[in-house]
Symmetry: D4
Subunit: 209 residues, 8 copies
């Protein structure tokens, strides 16, 4: 059951010690372990237990790889609008990879400079599922949704100031999008977007076999 799906630990709001304990309990499994929202301090504590644990600074993730690397189920493209949206985009990218997907990235392609986006049409065609991460330019999900026939998963981020209201503006913008084929996850939830994308590629992989 849930083959190829790692154990997942949401580290935010827990102490380094608590997180390390939870990692330890899961230790004999043959599934990989993914920790999200992890500070470097949390990582240090985990590394004492799993010396081969890997930390992705920007994504704030810890991964302990176990078992055979899974066959790649599907092709997931992660796009983001601004530099500041990158941590959320990276969380999505790491998660998608750990779950067994081929991942490509197209960052800094905000709609205020539409040509940068149009340059990525090949990447868009390549993907099975597209994840769009944006804070100040929620509009990106709408434009990508219009360009692509594949399922698009939109992740609003809390990046911005003033009337961005911590991501509410991007969230509403993405929900109102006229482009069909777009689903939205919680603000800053890069993990959730990747989990949904993986649920999709898993169905595709199942069909392939």
């Amino acid at each position: 059951l849930r083959k190829g799906f790692p154990e997942v630990i949401f580290c935010q709001g827990k102490t380094a010690g608590q997180v390390a304990q939870i990692f330890k309990k899961l230790c004999c499994g043959r599934r990989s372990i993914l920790g999200t929202r992890a500070t470097r301090e949390v990582f240090e504590a985990v590394r004492e237990i799993y010396p081969d644990a890997v930390y992705h600074e920007l994504a704030r993730t810890i991964v302990v790889y176990r078992g055979e690397p899974p066959a790649k189920k599907g092709k997931i493209l992660v796009m983001s609008a601004g530099t500041a949206d990158m941590p959320v985009a990276e969380e999505a990218a790491v998660t998608a990879e750990v779950m067994g997907n081929e991942v490509k990235k197209a960052y800094d392609v905000g709609v205020a400079g539409i040509h940068r986006l149009l340059d990525k049409l090949d990447l868009i065609r390549w993907a099975d599922v597209i994840i769009v991460v944006a804070g100040m330019e929620g509009a990106l999900a709408s434009v990508v949704g219009g360009l692509a026939d594949q399922p698009v998963i939109a992740v609003p981020t809390s990046v911005g100031y003033g009337a961005s209201f911590n991501g509410l503006s991007a969230l509403l913008c993405m929900l109102n999008s006229c482009a069909s084929g777009v689903g939205v996850v919680n603000i800053d939830n890069g993990f959730g977007a990747a989990a949904l994308a993986n649920a999709i590629t898993q169905m595709i992989a199942r069909a392939n076999t």
Copy 2:
């Protein structure tokens, strides 16, 4: 391009005459036409042009079937929590069918009576994609997301009163869901949920061939 995808007309806020005109313009095509948010009055006007147009009262949809019925791309389950959520659920069901999917329904399975939901486990296993429609019980998306490995698309509805705030409560509840694999569309957007579900089954169908 966009094979098996019907022409779609959003009828809300347009007069019967305007809608009929738009249906007329599309007339020579070989693709089916789907009208959403259509009143019976709008339907009457459309029927003058397409005597074979079909009206789904509850779903408020008009369908003019054209071309070969498409091979069924995938299996979509539409679930809803309360009786009053049915119009949105039906909009999703009709849309999913017109786009070429096999559709099953499990209505009135709110979480306040969890056993009614657990009775539907077979249906849940059957589906490629699950659409969950709920207003007063946004919780349903969370529970279904936990039971299913497949992609789940949640549609909050504006059903309810008081602190439901026209669907805002259900929307927030669905976005915060801890179950992974859940994406959300706009309040009352049954059409959008089906379009996203169809984007997914299309990828599955492509993998099958």
Copy 3:
């Protein structure tokens, strides 16, 4: 003072009789009179006093032309995303014209189909000022702002449903736009957008002489 600026009457929330009275009081002037948010019933009452009054159904405006037609001060392009945004767009267009500007229109160019927008690059280059009207696709202001160097005035509309929250979503989206050179007016305020655009073309005209 305020040459070329018509007398303006906001008809909403006033009876047909009250509006007619206000039109009457302004009668001896040499400036044109513009009534906004006027129903046909209000227009009928006004026409009894000014038989040459002109009603624009969609824009819900009444115009009584007086004085010499003003020399065209500038070139204003009014763009809109959806069909349902047209009344607001037309209010802007009529206002801009009555104030003495050359007006062109590019409607139904939502970002979900970006090519329709890219087809309008000539029009965009033509304009001195661009007004962008959108409800469900607030994103349009962002994309146009990126394509154009001229001042862009964004008008959110209350068109949409669910999480559009009567225009709030479009408003926030437009305010957060990363494209520079975009200013926003109140939801559905086509008149205000045109008045601001006219304040700009007036400065340009002054420079020309």
Copy 4:
């Protein structure tokens, strides 16, 4: 009057010195004293006055026991959805115990994994009153309310991120629940939930005698 009800001090927003002073003033009483929202620093100050004061780290409570331990009035079950909801759940549990109730706990039983909840049916049947504490899974109150005939008190927590909006999402979700027999208290108000639960068990105890 208010027999078995401890003196209660809300420590948040007061200095350690101020809290110690308030504890001191209450000293000759024969009722226990409960301090809520107390930091360890506050506790140190109180312990100087009452060396037998007890600190519950997670619950952030201080208790000074006085008088006879009250006979147990009723059976209160405290359930919580996520690990991060535990401080609020513990505040409820400590309060309920100090007020003279038998307390059992069922933590980490979120609805995204419904089987963990169904495993607790015996506990649910055992209780006179059930307190449900949840932040990201407000849905839990709804499901428990459907399973139980007893009064259910729901406590939304500010745990979560993004569209949880500091507990607003859980609050609205709990208020809209279709399950009957559910009352809601303020976000993070574990104390208030226990006080209401105790008001109920007190009526039960009165009936018993």
Copy 5:
């Protein structure tokens, strides 16, 4: 199971015909039937099936009594602040009675005239549970909660204008109450308040036997 609990039908948003059908389906039961949010038109349709159905105009409820009248489980006091809050208060009162409780009422006792409230102390002492219904004076729940040791169930109503924001103001006011022993239900949910009150009196009744 759920002895003494009537079948309940939420009539709002259903046609007279639909409601009548639902009433019909439940017909052979030995439990009473309660319809809430019912218009007179809905009642007329139900009366064709159950000639002995009773309509409470103000409460907008329909009751079909069946089986033995249940022994009175407990004493429920329904208080309300203003005249306009009466429909919600009556919904609570009817529901509480049908569920087998002795009900007393104290209406029009808003806190702006505190003496009217203090005159009701005897009634307050009489009750096992108190339901407080208020729209413009959410404060009432707080004052009653302070006067009473019994559980208090607060029902905000959508009565008011301006900054009442359809009951949001009363809801927030009630949730922030400093009086302990107060739980809140959804805006205008008189039914839900009575159901919770009944869940409490049922526990008391069980203790009595």
Copy 6:
């Protein structure tokens, strides 16, 4: 002009140096100077210039007395609900005194214990104007408004947690009050309440002469 009205400096968001500079500039005047929202650090800087400056710790105010102490214009009662509301209440009290009023205080008289409030009826009768300061018990303004015929000025505070939403709950509660004769100022604006109270007593004083 504005006799008896001190110079006022809003210190929040300014550095100690900047505030000291502003105090210095005003130095030759014969009017007193009042600094609000001042930290102790700011006070130290001001004292270097005015060694006789007085700091009120709780009120966070600095006063430099100059000129004759003004004759007392009126009697102002400052009431507050909770301990945590005291800083705002004290800001109001200091301001009212500096402006030349006789001030009395009744703190900690929340409505959850109505008898503490009723004990203050003499004070209420004594006052010309009453200022009511409350965060978690906005209800207090309503009850006092009902007891008093004099003008009541309500100050919501940001004290509280959860659904207090930083004072929004108290603000709305106070605005919806059914008691007539109540005006509201901004959240935490003790200064503003006293300034309005003083505007009233000034009119009274003028009538007296």
Copy 7:
């Protein structure tokens, strides 16, 4: 007690018959009766009982004068920004007059044309208390507060559209005003503003005697 204060009936949400009944019950009194929020239909019903009842169309008030006309207690100026704000301004004016005050009016003096406001300086100096009524130009309260030393009572109105959010915008604007001496009442609450103004003039009158 409460000399010169009429009986007040809030007619909104009551049937013509109900209001007439309430008027009837108060009939033998020697105080005048004021009905607010009354439709013409309600007035017709009241006139059957009190043939001398007076209806103010715009203010939507009914007055039944009884007893000696009270000596004028004070001078109240009612200002309003826009034509559409007049009903609320008139409610305030009628209420203030019935309560025994001399009332003057300065309507249509919005800040967008500041000279119209500056023309009213004499009126502003004349008043004891100033009531400022505004929907789209909440700014007016701020400007008047700066010009006047007297107490200013601000009434936001629900007039406007789009981002006026039914008066919320004006309400917030008035609360944030930097001018001291301004208190705010509920949106559209002309009655409440006048009642507060009257509480002030009553204190002044008392000082005069």
Copy 8:
């Protein structure tokens, strides 16, 4: 293309090192570079690369001047209401200057003291475009919009407390302004206001040649 427009770097949320890197990459260009939202620490890092970089403390901007100083395109007046609004006003002023405009300033001219504003009429007449920056006195945009025929760009700031809700109050106030010719940008977005003003003066300059 985009002649006279500097390269712009939004420094907020980036480390000193990251910002320095971005400045470096742009180094060979002949356009000036503007960094906004820069701390002093960020500036120090940039100065290591460009020793002639200029830091504006209050505006939090870094400018590296390159190429010929551009001919002044237009006259921009920056007005602000309170002292605390100055950082945003300075960001606008610096940006407008770097983009090649003549800039004048009128600070501390809030509407609560209208005469300070009326003293600036000459400056207002001088300008081609006016930028109005205000937090607690959003009203200022409305008054200036009424006094001036030129385009007015309003910038709400997050300055204030309580019901200012981090700039939301000022934003709404500015959007609802009745004065025509006013456009609004995001809260605290001084840069964006200047960019829009510059887009306008650029059109004027083009007309001049």
